[in-house]
Amino acid sequence: MSKPMSKEELQYIGKSIPPSELFEKVTGRFQYVGDIHAELYGKVLRSPHPHARIKHINTSRVEKLSGVEAVLTHKDVPLRKLPRRDQRGCYILEDHVRFVGDEVAAVAARTRAIAEEALDLFEVEYEILPAVFDPEEAAKPEAPQLYPGGNVYGPQFGMLVEKGLNEPVVMEWGDIEKGFEEADVVIEDKVEVKPQIHSPIEPHICIASWKGEELTLWTATQSPYEVRMSIAHALGMPEGKVRVIYGAIGGGFGSKYIERYQPIAALLSKKAGGKSTKIVLTREEELCHAGRAGAKIRVKLGVKKDGTITAIYLKGFFNLGGYGNIIGGCGRFGEESPGLAYKYQNARFEGWDVHTNHISSQPCRGVALPTLTFAVENVIDQAAERLNMDPVEFRLRNLPESDDLMPVKPHKNPIYPRGELEAYPAQQILREVAEKIGWERFKGYQHPVAAEGPKRRGLGIAASQGWGGFCIGGFINETVILNNDGSVHILSGHTDLGTGSNTTLRQIAAEALGIPIEEVTLTTGDTTIGHFDMIGARGSRSMTTAGHLILVAIEQAKNKIRQMAAPLLEAEPEQIEVRGKKAYVRGEEGRAVLLRELLTSTVKCTIGGDPRDWLLIKGTMWPMVAPGKKTRNPVVAASEVEVDLETGEVKPIRVITGNSPGRMVNPTIVRGQYTGAAAMTLGMALWEEFKYDEKNSVYIHASLTDYKVPRALDVPPIVNIIIEEFVERPLDVGGPYGARGAGELAGLGIVASIANAIYNATGVRVRQTPMTAEKVLEAIEEKRERKK
């Protein structure tokens, strides 16, 4: 078995090697899907009504327009649904439309101008149905029904879900009734968050073209194999005949998986004789397509005088919109993290994922965790105040530590096993973050840390937990090919969104094999290599999962070579090490043979895809890393804000993130991911506002003029506190070299920390996002009224 190495011995792990694509990106030579020419331009006709049936659709005028080469309506699509992960399967087009912007029909034309003109020529007669927009209302039996079996999706994880289960997703342990009885103080409150739109700068885009019965699809997607599988299924094709070319993506953040526009482009192209057909969403379409689920969450927290949290009851309604992804809803709680952030003696987390006639929920960087953290931290902060405890002290008392068996009592659902948290320096992170933000300035609630004229400054801190540790590998393939000359080639099922995984995976392989990183090449970006990644780039798992499997594959390749070299070196296979392009007896570097001389062909190992891992999907994707041991990510955030009491304007002054990435493979990439995630969630907290005009059925926020994605002058300096802590294990066990995921993790506590900072500055709690000047001022005035 290969031994892990100390920091001094490591050549590539911990080195900030610039991702290889950067040279192409800074010279403008990196080719995105939009840079590829297509013959035809496709456009989608979208529903102007939030809920309707298509009674009649007449495309004759469209077809007559010169330059139009294909038209598609719900009558033309296959009767098989498009399977989608954690989401209802849906027909490619249907005569039932479920939100303003839902796909109705499509057209492909020789130029974009003709396609635009063609949209006006569709004649559609709708039967308008009553609509429902609030998830709590939609959960009631009398609400307008979007699907048979009701609007509540329920805890079901199949790919072609047909009916709703009128049940919440539940995670619980202990007895919360008793817990609340034991409490000295009980705080109850609720928060509401609006959807956050991912809005990557590159919009959704794909090009479809056919050669005979074989489809090639270029698309910006985080889950190419899901795209392949879903389209193949819906079109009744063998998967091998659907080729997805991916890997050049201008940002995803959870928005780019399998959508309807991809099979729509495929069908348009087919109808046009296979001509390459490009569909790209306009920014307006992009901004009313899908987003992080809006939610309404109530939390009840019971605490003892000494600060112990005796009970927590969280009940949330998550807005799935018309077609939403349930991971984009309450995050299933099966991911456990909301429940393990603090040591809750007794707990019940109840999440209702409900369909409404709004844009679909799609997991957005951190998924439900920023929302859940906001909801929970809102009462955590209030509890600390009620007990007259310093907010940092109160949290320290309740944060779990390494080796704590979590959750505090066994889950009621036996699928989620308890385990000891590993390498979990939550308390140290909290202390260091507090110190960095200058927590010694905190003089207690009701005392802003600074005041000048109408401006007040406040500090806020929040703790949370995320995934991204060791993820089950059953869903992804990795192949390691040792070439004759000892260089290595990797075929990988993962997707690099600009997150640098193409490079970090090569760092991992180079380290494990003791060869220069220049001799490690990697192929991804084309499903032809026949790999698979069911989950795709989601949950901050690409580098850890693929990296883990690559190390397993390398170990297996080494074992093959050990067997081959043993007779030559006159030693037992276990005595032989394979590094630096040679096989040698451990401790006797002289007794060696070059791989170049040993191998007569390549040595290839493929790992992944064990269906037994499927069983775990019902519980959590983040299994034990070793018997009884869990890897989870401690997360802390702190903010300093300045609030103008007369205008309600909130200006973020400084943001500190605190995380433990396990062992960092590439520090600069990790920092970049942390900072980016924090900035994105800051947008959710302060500026990005989803707005729907119900009277006119229009999403009025749908332009970047009105949907305020943060700019350079908006985002303050963000400092990352990074504590590397990991358990040394053999390389083929657990996260690669002890690494954990990073992509989403630093954003989880930002919204909560901003809300808590506003409270410190002004004495008012804002319980909604975004915390605009209007809302803050309203809260300040309400408080003034109550005081009178």
Binding site: P48, V100, A113, G648, E649, W687, V698, A702, R711, L713
Partner: protein, 298 residues
């Protein structure tokens, strides 16, 4: 009905003119009148054309008429209509002597927009939240309009008609004239926005001239809270000729907020805007007076 608003992004075909001489531009206007639209910076016009808000048959690009781009000190200020917002922002003497105009240029859009957008274009756009109009109105700016029928000079206050209309009648705005300000005059401008680059929720410009500790003259202009940028004249009356005490300033804030008719839209609510008018007017009166003091002590 197109979801959610016009989904088009291409430009329809149009006839194009780009004269080098102003007289040619006038002739084109005379011939085509309402069938032609003027292209200056393009940041507004091209967007409107893309979403089919306007569908001009002809587009007249006046940017090659170099004689319309200048910044001259001539007792007061003479600004060619094609002067970019960047040029205004980078002018040292505007920053010193017409500070509110600098304030408006400072936060106007983004650097790219500032490089392209012209002050003439911003005025002719007739937006009730126009950043440049508010300070110009406090400075009693005059606009020179020239066309086939000749030329006229109108106070900027008479230029906008509300609801996105102006008084241009087959004419081109060529010059903005800012009369010379008194030595004891101070100006300020502020716009409230959702984030660092935005249109105004409320904007406000103030100019105050002081003599012997009393307000000799004052202009208070509000934007984004009515169907056009306007002077809050009743508010001005409260202050004019008076000693500017805190009490007067409070009253002025309240009065200004009553003079406006703010609405609720995607950017903000009517209530919030009304409250902010009070806050801004008070703060800007203070700032303007402070700036008077600075000029005096300078």
């Amino acid at each position: 009905m197109k979801f959610p608003r016009e989904m088009t992004k291409t430009l329809k075909e149009f006839g194009y003119f780009d004269p080098q001489k102003f007289d040619d531009a006038v002739s084109i206007l005379e011939e085509w009148d309402k069938r032609v639209m003027i292209l200056a910076g393009g940041t507004d016009l091209l967007n409107q054309m893309k979403v089919r808000q306007v569908k001009p048959e002809f587009v007249l690009n006046i940017k090659n008429i170099k004689e319309l781009e200048y910044l001259k000190r001539n007792k007061g200020l003479e600004i060619g209509a094609l002067t970019t917002i960047t040029a205004i922002r980078e002018s040292e003497f505007i920053k010193k002597e017409y500070t509110s105009l600098y304030d408006a240029a400072e936060w106007f859009g983004t650097p790219q927009i500032r490089n392209m957008a012209t002050i003439g274009g911003n005025i002719c756009r007739n937006s009730p939240s126009s950043d440049m109009v508010a300070p110009l109105m406090t400075l009693d700016a005059l606009l020179k309009l020239e066309g086939p029928k000749g030329e006229r000079t109108v106070p900027i206050e008479e230029f906008m008609l509300g609801s996105g209309e102006n008084i241009l009648d087959c004419e081109i705005l060529t010059q903005i004239i800012v009369p010379r300000q008194g030595k004891s005059s101070g100006t300020a401008f502020k716009k409230l926005k959702r984030s660092s680059a935005d249109l105004a929720k409320v904007n406000c410009a103030v100019r105050i001239a002081m003599r012997d500790n009393k307000c000799e003259d004052v202009r208070i202009v509000l934007g984004a809270v009515a169907d056009k940028v306007f002077r809050a004249k009743k508010t001005e009356e409260l202050i004019r000729g008076e000693k500017v005490t805190d009490v007067i300033i409070e009253e002025a804030g309240r009065k200004a907020s009553q003079e406006a008719q703010p609405i609720t839209d995607v950017r903000s609510t009517a209530d919030y805007r009304r409250q902010m008018i009070e806050v801004l007017v008070k703060r800007l009166i203070h700032s303007s007076i402070e700036r008077v003091a600075k000029i005096h002590t300078a």
